[in-house]
């Protein structure tokens, strides 16, 4: 894994992106704005499942009407995130919060697929009503917590001096 990161780090296009004055601020700004689009909409979907808000909106309306926008935000977020990683792979390789963010995104994705292919199949039974099944509410709570953690670990990536001691002892970035 390390050799892959080192190989990318030495690529001329990675160096060019890293040395560009405008690339990093531009990519990071688009990353944050697209995060607002994706995470903002997903948060209200999760809160609808939990029963915090939008209770009069049929549950099935949200995936059909809001997910295309949320996925657009996610797509832009993924592209800018990949470019940020591509431009400074060795900065992120040893960063605990980077790996924590990747792991959290993976778990959030699994939760999303599990919900979609298991719990959501019975949506017609609870679409209009206010009583959301426990499984769906749990999936909403898990998703909300996981995406919040993704946002937090994403921000924490800037604090390379605040990584856990046990992680530092592994000397991954050295």
């Amino acid at each position: 894994m390390r050799s892959l990161f080192e190989w990318v780090d030495a690529l001329p296009s990675s160096i060019a992106l890293r040395e560009s004055l405008n690339a990093y601020p531009t990519m990071l700004t688009i990353h944050v704005v697209s995060m607002c689009l994706f995470a903002g909409l997903i948060a209200y979907w999760d809160m609808r499942l939990i029963g915090f808000t939008l209770k009069k909106v049929p549950v099935s309306n949200i995936p059909t009407r809001l997910f295309p926008w949320a996925l657009t935000g996610y797509g832009i977020n993924l592209i800018t995130g990949a470019l940020l990683l591509y431009s400074q792979p060795m900065r992120y390789y040893g960063n605990f919060y980077f790996w924590a963010k990747m792991a959290l995104m993976l778990v959030a994705g699994i939760n999303m697929f599990w919900f979609h292919y298991a719990t959501y199949k019975s949506v017609q039974a609870w679409d209009q009503g206010r009583e959301i099944p426990l499984n769906a509410r749990l999936a909403g709570v898990v998703s909300l917590v996981l995406w919040a953690a993704v946002v937090v670990t994403g921000r924490m990536m800037a604090y390379s001096g605040l990584m856990p001691g046990w992680w530092n002892n592994l000397n991954i970035g050295a």
């Binding site: 990093y24 990071l28 607002c36 689009l37 948060a43 939008l54 009069k56 309306n61 009407r65 946002v151």
Partner: protein
């Protein structure tokens, strides 16, 4: 006068504590970002509806009423988590053009939201022609600019 106010803020014991306490700034910044997500979602769901997209089967005024409190409380959270950051880096903010642009647009955004946007969102649908679309578009533009300038304070100041 404004400069001396910022110098005073920078010199507060709280500002010194924020800078000295290792975890204070990261925790506040993370909370600010989470509040931003809450705010953006509440704004976007209504703005997209104003644009004729998103939850079109739900009456606009119902959506606007329900999400209004989420937007207000998210904004309060943004303010509560944003103020300590301004206090602890007051002089950096003072000399950053992005900070002033952000503040000006926030004021415009709040005035716009509590006057025009709210009135249009709560009006009977179909009575205002193309105005809801214009308002939705402007609202997205205003709050996107705020996030862009906010990000640029940290990156380019």
């Amino acid at each position: 006068m404004l400069q001396s106010f910022f110098v005073w803020m920078q010199g507060l014991p709280f500002s010194a504590w924020m800078l000295e306490e290792t975890w204070a700034s990261p925790i506040i910044q993370c909370a600010h970002l989470v509040a931003l997500v809450g705010f953006a979602g509440a704004v976007l769901v209504v703005d997209m509806r104003l644009l004729g997209r998103g939850l079109i089967k739900t009456p606009l005024n119902q959506l606007a009423r329900e999400l209004d409190r989420w937007m207000i409380w998210s904004f309060v959270a943004l303010f509560v988590t944003g103020a300590p950051q301004v206090l602890s880096t007051a002089l950096k903010q003072y000399y950053s053009p992005f900070f002033w642009w952000k503040m000006q647009i926030i004021v415009i955004g709040l005035l716009f939201n509590f006057t025009i946007r709210r009135r249009v969102a709560l009006a009977e649908e179909g009575t205002l022609g193309h105005w809801p679309k214009v308002v939705g578009f402007l609202s997205i533009g205003i709050w996107t600019s705020v996030s862009v300038y906010a990000r640029l304070i940290g990156l380019l100041s």
